[in-house]
């Protein structure tokens, strides 16, 4: 297996791409699609594999600069990375690379290099920086025939082939072949503007070695950082003084709160970068007089964290009511049993009983002021949101 390095994608693919298989990142114009192949290159190198990167839409030096921008030091792995320069010859510039496609507008020229590499190299991850550029220069039919052949050979020689492809207006026949036939797996990448969620997503269109999943995920590209799964809103709510603001600050890489006289009067807002996820956290006030604001803030949440003070069962009714006013039922949610350091704190089991919670709602014990249990709660919720294990 070769991991793609794209968060969650490897998990859905059952661990990654099996040796001998091919995968295409099928991206709509205008979205950040190129970074997918690059992240797979870097991830392969980092985990000790060999890699070929075919550069065809710009000069290799610019590509190296891009890797740097994402925070990926490829120089460190120079001896296991082979860059194929399919650009400089096109503009008549000299190339410093060892492998050069002499005539990037002829598929023969590509065939010569790629087939040699497939035969000579130990099992590697071969990534095409832009299949669409090759198609534009060499012709659609010609390129498709070549790709068909490369994929077959890669199967025999145990390589993994990964292609970045931008969906320009090619013939329907070409697009159909790419989407349905040519590759073992197709990952579609596009943009959405749905209701008020504006962003980019990826999803699995096809994969012949796993059960198909139609689920798609929002992502963001960070510089540095690369592709992160994006969760636009996680709501942190709960009764007065339960420790919501403390929780948001403990979890966040950076956070702000509008607190006056020790209580939240507007909201807490934080940002978390953790294990491939990039999430924005909205913390509500707790006191009833702010209920209009609590309602206002809770729309479009992808998941909810209900924080309760484990020493204060008198507030559990209010806590349940808050799930109601935030319209959290139906969304994935977890209960954080906070202040476990205090004498008389109820155990998570006792809290589950008192709340009469369904079995699939996790209760996580926490001491938010000491950052204990905070990331556990986040992870459990993320797993529920992304439908993971």
């Amino acid at each position: 297996m070769v991991e793609t390095g794209i968060p969650k994608l490897d998990e859905i693919l059952g661990g990654g791409i099996p040796k001998g298989k091919s995968l295409v990142y099928y991206s709509q114009p205008g979205v950040e699609g190129e970074v997918f192949g690059m992240q797979t290159v870097y991830n392969t190198l980092k985990s000790g594999g060999n890699c070929v990167f075919v550069v065809s839409s710009t000069i290799p030096d610019i590509v190296k600069g891009l890797f740097k921008e994402y925070g990926w030091d490829i120089d460190e792995y120079k001896d296991r990375l082979c860059l194929v320069d399919a650009y400089n010859p096109l503009i008549g510039a000299p190339s410093d690379e060892k492998y050069i496609v002499a005539n990037p507008d002829s598929i023969e020229s590509f065939n010569k290099i790629i087939i040699d590499l497939i035969k000579e190299l130990p099992p590697s991850t071969i990534v095409f920086g832009s299949l669409s550029t090759i198609m534009d220069l060499c012709g659609e039919k010609e390129t498709i025939e070549a790709v068909r052949n490369w994929n077959k050979m890669a199967m025999l020689y145990n390589h993994v082939l990964v292609y970045n492809f931008t969906v320009w207006p090619y013939t329907n026949q070409t697009l159909h072949l790419i989407k349905e036939e040519l590759f073992n797996a197709v990952i579609s990448i596009g943009s959405i503007a749905e209701r008020v969620i504006f962003g980019q997503y990826f999803g699995i269109l096809k994969s012949d070695w796993t059960k198909e999943t139609k689920k798609s995920m929002l992502f963001r590209v960070l510089r540095p950082g690369g592709i992160k799964l994006f969760i636009p809103k996680i709501l942190v709510t709960g009764p007065f003084d339960a420790g919501k603001s403390t929780f948001v600050h403990a979890l966040s890489t950076r956070a702000i709160s509008v607190d006056r006289l020790g209580t939240t009067i507007a909201m807490d807002h934080g940002h978390v970068d953790y294990k491939g996820f990039s999430a924005d956290i909205f913390g509500t006030p707790g006191q009833e007089r702010f209920d209009p604001i609590i309602k206002l803030l809770s729309g479009e949440s992808m998941g909810v964290i209900l924080v309760v003070d484990s020493t204060n069962p008198a507030d559990f009714v209010r806590a349940k009511h808050m799930l109601d006013i935030t319209k959290s039922y139906g969304l994935p949610y977890v209960v954080v049993a906070n202040k476990q350091d205090m004498p008389g704190a109820l155990s998570p089991e006792e809290i589950r009983e008192q709340f009469n919670l369904p079995d699939d709602v996790p209760v996580v014990s926490a001491v938010a002021k000491d950052k204990l249990g905070v990331f556990e709660a986040f992870e459990v919720l993320i797993d529920k949101i992304t439908g993971g294990t």
Binding site: V196, H269, D280, I293, L296, E300
Partner: protein, 122 residues
């Protein structure tokens, strides 16, 4: 889909071009950033969330005392101003301007843009 994004970007760019305007942002009523034209990206998400809260709090306050819905929220601060207007039921527009900007001109353009944004997000 991508077209809506482009159109919102255009609307924000037009607002940004008004003299003295430093940033223009579209956010959802519940505080999510939609799109922005602003140099300091890091603070965008919180600014969107805070602005939605301010407008929401203002709306709750004035309607409860039967004064109707506020037309806008204007925050005058030490080095400039922050203006928030509703743009239909889903969205709002936020403008950051320096102290030398012409408030009247900005408000006229902002109201027009708010109507347009409402249409774009229908």
């Amino acid at each position: 889909m991508a077209d809506t994004i482009d159109m919102v970007d255009k609307l924000l760019a037009d607002l940004k071009n008004i003299g003295g305007v430093e940033a223009s942002i579209a956010a959802s009523r519940d505080g999510l950033l939609i799109r922005a034209n602003m140099p300091k990206e890091k603070f965008l998400a919180s600014l969107a969330a805070m602005s939605a809260t301010m407008l929401g709090a203002a709306e709750t306050a004035t309607t409860q005392v039967e004064k109707g819905l506020p037309t806008r929220v204007i925050v005058e601060s030490e080095y400039g101003r922050l203006i928030i207007v509703g743009a239909g039921p889903k969205a709002l527009l936020i403008i950051l301007a320096n102290s030398n900007s012409s408030l009247g001109l900005i408000l006229i353009e902002l109201d027009k843009s708010a109507k347009k944004l409402k249409e774009l997000l229908k």
